[in-house]
């Protein structure tokens, strides 16, 4: 039982693997991710513009990749975690029509600070390697937790979405 804040430091060990997450790299996602980060470089939305600048098609922006990596990590830790560091190295681009599979492993732990190594692989090879540092809560629910009576209403839609992923 992880409680409303998610995993605690005590419940995590070096070597723990995060469940893999496959992300279909649709053209829509690549464009939505670029625009949601206010990145209007044409290589992320205009196929001909991308070709003119030396790539065969539009490709995912680094901020989009970072957003997916952050989500992948906090999906697993739960909302009690604080991301303190995110270090990303990009490899082959994420082009539309492919699928990126994210995998991760806990590679370090000091008190309640853990380090997670995340790897995103697409059909052409390694797209991203990230090191993510996360501070986890010591206990499942801090004293300032909201009254339980409000929790079921607000949490229900999120839980439903969680179950379908």
């Amino acid at each position: 039982m992880t409680g409303t804040t998610g995993r605690t430091a005590a419940a995590v060990s070096v070597g723990d693997a995060l469940p893999e997450l496959a992300i279909p790299l649709t053209r829509s996602l690549i464009v939505a991710g670029a625009l949601a980060t206010r990145d209007y470089e044409n290589v992320h939305h205009d196929p001909q513009g991308a070709i003119d600048r030396g790539t065969p098609d539009v490709y995912m922006s680094i901020n989009n990749t970072n957003g997916l990596v952050g989500r992948f990590v906090t999906d697993w830790t739960g909302p009690g975690a604080f991301i303190t560091k995110l270090s990303t190295r990009l490899g082959v681009p994420n082009f539309p029509g492919d699928t990126m599979t994210l995998a991760g492993e806990v590679v370090g732990k000091q008190d309640n600070l853990i380090e997670i190594s995340v790897r995103g692989t697409n059909g052409a090879g390694s797209h991203v390697v990230s090191q993510v540092s996360v501070r986890l809560p010591d206990t499942a629910a801090p004293d300032t937790a909201a009254p339980d009576t409000t929790a079921p209403d607000s949490a229900a839609p999120d839980n439903a979405a969680e179950a379908t992923r």
């Binding site: 409303t4 804040t5 992300i23 996602l29 939505a32 991710g33 625009l35 949601a36 980060t37 206010r38 990145d39 209007y40 470089e41 044409n42 290589v43 600048r53 030396g54 790539t55 922006s61 680094i62 901020n63 989009n64 970072n66 957003g67 997916l68 990596v69 952050g70 989500r71 906090t74 999906d75 909302p79 009690g80 604080f82 991301i83 303190t84 560091k85 995110l86 270090s87 990303t88 190295r89 990009l90 082959v92 681009p93 809560p137 629910a141 801090p142 300032t144 937790a145 909201a146 409000t150 929790a151 607000s154 949490a155 999120d158 979405a161 969680e162």
Partner: protein, 334 residues
């Protein structure tokens, strides 16, 4: 500096001079201090988390955020740079009329003029001092930290530019630091072969040029294949040398070769792999029509080579000031 990609400096003194020029930007403030157009707000956060498929309730749900000990909803940390983007209007204006002048603009233009027209982010290290809350108004300073020597990547040859960005809040407290690296690259290095991983000839060993053979390499740079010819007895000779092996005369002149010949012998190398070459690598010994022999690469498929194959000269730019002959299969010419 010429804008043609053929003259981009790949190695040697030109490359060093170019790198020195690029590195004058190191330590300079990349762009003027940038202020966020909008304070951290729930609408932009929603756009972001929906695109990412991020269901973490601390980004959208006040109650859930408070139940984790936060004072209210926070922005997803990886969204950091989104708050400081210049926006569509300024971006398109810069794309049409050029970016506003700044050291970063000048550095990018210098590279663009040298043929490095592509740009892609490669590394991003973000350190968050604290989470961003609704209402935070950020500003950012960026310093050019490093410009790399020319490197060859799967996308093409290019230079990496590293900037260090510091994000501060309205009280001038640092909320995040970001080390951001981009590659400004020349896609034509790989485009010519149609293979993204094709080797860059700029990495190859340079020929050993001295007084006796300089004329030959000078001609090759102009894509002319020449043969040293004795001015006294008319004997052709290759490789170049100071005196005629037949009559001993030191007088000589150049004769233009037609650039056609047949394969006398060849070798196909698979290993070890030297930088700058695609493998398997076929090297020919070519009998030129004029009678001298020449060692050169074969540009065709290694499967098609044989002794006696008619070939024709082709040229390969190594970048910088080196161009050398190679030979293509004349039977495959239409």
């Amino acid at each position: 500096m010429s804008a043609t990609t053929q003259q981009r400096p790949a190695a040697g003194p030109d490359a060093e001079e170019f790198l020195t020029q690029l590195r004058t930007f190191v330590g300079q403030q990349a762009t003027p201090v940038r202020y966020a157009q909008d304070a951290v707000n729930p609408a932009m956060i929603r756009h972001f988390v929906e695109a990412m498929g991020d269901e973490n309730p601390v980004y959208t749900d006040e109650t859930a955020a408070r139940s984790t000990g936060r004072s209210g909803i926070v922005a997803p940390p990886p969204m950091l740079s989104s708050w400081l983007m210049v926006g569509y209007k300024a971006h398109t204006a810069a794309a049409e009329h050029g970016a506003p002048d700044s050291p970063m603009t000048r550095l990018l233009n210098l590279l663009g003029d040298a043929g490095y027209v592509g740009v892609v982010a490669t590394n991003d290290e973000q350190e968050y001092v604290r989470e961003l809350r609704i209402g935070d108004r950020l500003k950012m300073t960026a310093v050019i930290e490093d410009v790399s020597p020319r490197k060859v990547t799967g996308l093409g040859a290019g230079h990496f530019i590293t900037t260090l960005r510091t994000y501060t809040d309205a009280d001038d407290q640092v909320v995040a630091r970001q080390r951001f690296r981009i590659l400004r690259f020349d896609p034509t290095v790989t485009k010519s072969s149609g293979q993204p991983a094709a080797a860059d000839p700029g990495l190859r060993h340079r020929p050993f040029v001295m007084r006796d053979n300089q004329f030959w390499f000078d001609a090759a740079r102009e894509r002319r294949l020449v043969i040293q010819t004795c001015s006294d007895c008319g004997q052709l000779r290759h490789p170049p040398g100071p005196s005629c092996p037949q009559c001993g005369s030191f007088a000589w002149h150049e004769t233009a070769a037609a650039g056609r010949g047949t394969v006398h012998s060849y070798v196909t190398s698979h290993h070890p792999k030297a930088p700058g070459y695609d493998y398997p690598l076929t090297v020919l010994l070519v009998d030129l029509e004029e009678g001298t022999r020449l060692v050169a690469d074969y540009s065709g498929d290694p499967e098609t080579v044989r002794v006696g194959l008619p070939v024709e000269v082709d040229w390969l730019d190594y970048g910088g000031d080196v161009t050398l002959p190679r030979f293509r299969n004349r039977e495959e010419q239409s």
